[in-house]
Symmetry: C2
Subunit: 218 residues, 2 copies
């Protein structure tokens, strides 16, 4: 938990110095907001974790509301970008459907659903959604609003190609995602961070059940 900022950061040394500190602030803010919620997060705590003076935060990012806004916006962008990057590897014309869909599921779990950005966002949406209505309208638009239809489209493609037997691709997409997230959510609720080693098993379980329900039978 203390190094989740490290997971979120990327080659800081190559950035201009100002941006470097800015990133440190945003990462620290993301952590603290996630841990304490909006009301519980103090600017001082963020400053300490970022290794920066409190004044620098006000200089670079203005007041608390704006800091929160910037953080959410950045994480949203990274998160959805990551999701669609994985979605581009969806097996549209697989030779071994179960094998390739399982591998895809594992990628999705690892890079989109497990990753700290996405989890952090989901948590914040649940807690602060009512406080920043405008902010979360755009999140909804770019989050579930775009993700589920995109998954549904891929599944419909598989159905059309004769791999699957679907009468409602949108429903299938929701159920596929739900199956993928089944074990993940339980771990999260139990405060347990899913070990890397179990992800393949989770992907296999979800995919197997999904295909048992929807794979075209010959």
């Amino acid at each position: 938990m203390k190094n989740s900022s490290a997971e979120r950061s990327q080659d800081q040394d190559t950035w201009p110095p100002a941006q470097n500190k800015r990133q440190a602030i945003l990462n620290a803010a993301a952590d603290i907001f996630a841990e304490e919620g909006f009301a519980g997060a103090s600017i001082d705590a963020i400053a300490v974790r970022a290794g920066v003076s409190r004044q620098t935060i006000y200089n670079q990012l203005g007041d608390k509301d704006n800091l929160f806004k910037v953080v959410v916006t950045e994480i949203t962008e990274r998160s959805t970008a990551g999701f669609f990057r994985v979605l581009d590897t969806f097996p549209v014309a697989p030779q071994d459907l179960e094998k390739e869909l399982t591998e895809f599921s594992a990628r999705l779990l690892r890079k989109a659903m497990c990753d700290p950005n996405g989890r952090w966002l989901r948590k914040l949406v649940e807690t602060e959604g009512t406080r920043f209505p405008k902010l979360f309208e755009t999140w909804k638009e770019y989050g579930p609003g775009k993700k589920y239809p995109a998954v549904a489209a891929r599944l419909a493609q598989l159905a059309l190609a004769g791999y699957l037997d679907l009468d409602d691709p949108a429903l299938a997409a929701r159920q596929y995602m739900a199956l993928l997230g089944a074990d993940l959510r339980i771990d999260q609720q139990l405060g347990r961070q899913t070990p890397e080693s179990e992800i393949d098993q989770m992907a296999a379980n979800a995919t197997r059940t999904f295909l048992r329900a929807f794979a075209r039978r010959h």
Copy 2:
């Protein structure tokens, strides 16, 4: 949202007057904690919503930490009690499996997963789990720790009776619950409260997919 305490309350008039106010406080506290998080919830706000003076809260329930503890404990008890009450109606020897399992799923959705208590708890666990470790250990013990095995046991019973084809009842239980919660979660994340009229459809969808995957074929 303003009347979610009403949903949680039950025939207050029949209670002794002191307990009556106590319940009003607990209901209001549940709402405010859920909306604002622990840090963001002010005793004053709770007092106002409960229609009670701030002092009365301190008289009856002590400080903020204890108030929170009592609220979580009460909701936990109500929530798990409700869950197991529904679970007792599980169709162990159904004539029409899909029909009866669908009806059971609808009951579970309505009375256990949709209900404000459960949702409130899940939210609080995500946000304040780290702040009250002991409290949430007991929650985990009586929440997921007991619910999933109980569901697994019922499914195993169905499998043994020849209705289902399961090699891992525990996994099947997690997936069944995940399928049930699929649409629910999306609604929640979108800040949309699931309309009563859609619950039957959600139960039917989840049950149908579950049985497509696990019903024994003849």
